[in-house]
Symmetry: C2
Subunit: 187 residues, 2 copies
């Protein structure tokens, strides 16, 4: 059964419905096809708009309040106490998909993303969400840079990123989000 | 005359009143003591709160709508079409001052921040806003890393960052912000 019956959710040209784990009035959150670190997710406006200044006041409010809402659950399930929250707003800032997306990346002291690695990945091919989504849809072979990063992810016993695995991770996060709602009485 | 009569504005322990160029109900924006690139500014909640999840719904809404509002003016005055928008939310994510601050960094294709330099600076000593503020307040000598970055800024005919220069830049940005308000009828 689809996670949000009757809804098809697009991240620019990509149908990412099975990757989505949270939905609000104006925003959605999806598990990343290529997480730079465990728990790396993206939050986007439901309307396909390329830049932050294209969003309405309500869309911006909803987007970043959704980021904070998700941080609460990620803090618990990833036992982390820090996050990189980043929007590459425009091509010259490293944006690869012309649809606003806010990266939320759980961090730990001394994690493999330290010493700038997380940012190197974010700007490099390892973080090119658009290319990865396209490759998976077209069944293309991965580039060397991506294979190298995957190798590290595999070494560390991290999740593979097939459609099925992403769907499984999305279902899990949706359940964990619900637990916090029950616990706190907040939605 | 102080920019916002009767107001003293703190960025964690630092009195940054003379660096502030924009004030809203819940947020303020200041010119950076150590801009990684020209136009690099910070947006903060008025209340000293360390983490995004500490902010109220209204504070988050105001903070990121202020980011977008400022982007409109920076786009015009820096003739840029892209921005890195980033919160280092927690120490393990590179946060150096325990008061939420959103970096807004104008980017251009092929600028000196390309190839990850901007992120390298952000995570390294060059981007340590807290240390720089403290050094200026204590009249301390700058470290080699900071000197090297300053050297590049000087080479490129960028602004020095004395209190006076920051105040001048803040006044200039305040005026430029006002022009956009007049032009668009928006506040």
């Amino acid at each position: 059964m689809p996670p949000f019956p009757g809804r098809t959710i697009h991240f620019a040209p990509f149908n990412v419905t099975s990757q989505v784990f949270h939905l609000t009035q104006h925003s959605f959150a999806l598990v990343n096809i290529k997480p730079l670190l465990p728990g790396h997710i993206l939050v986007c406006p439901l309307k396909i708009k390329p830049r932050l200044v294209d969003l309405t006041r309500d869309e911006i409010s909803d987007l970043f309040n959704t980021v904070a809402r998700i941080q609460r659950t990620l803090t618990r399930v990833y036992k982390t106490d820090a996050f990189n929250v980043a929007v590459q707003d425009g091509e010259a800032a490293g944006q690869s998909v012309p649809h606003v997306h806010c990266h939320v990346i759980p961090r730990q002291h001394g994690d493999p993303g330290s010493d700038d690695k997380v940012h190197e990945w974010l700007e490099g091919e390892e973080g090119d969400v658009g290319k990865a989504q396209k490759d998976v849809e077209q069944g293309k072979e991965k580039s060397d840079a991506v294979k190298k990063h995957d190798e590290w992810m595999k070494d560390e016993d991290r999740k593979p990123r097939t459609k099925e695995e992403m769907n499984k991770e999305a279902r899990w996060l949706r359940e964990e989000m619900a637990k916090d709602d029950e616990g706190s009485g907040k939605l």
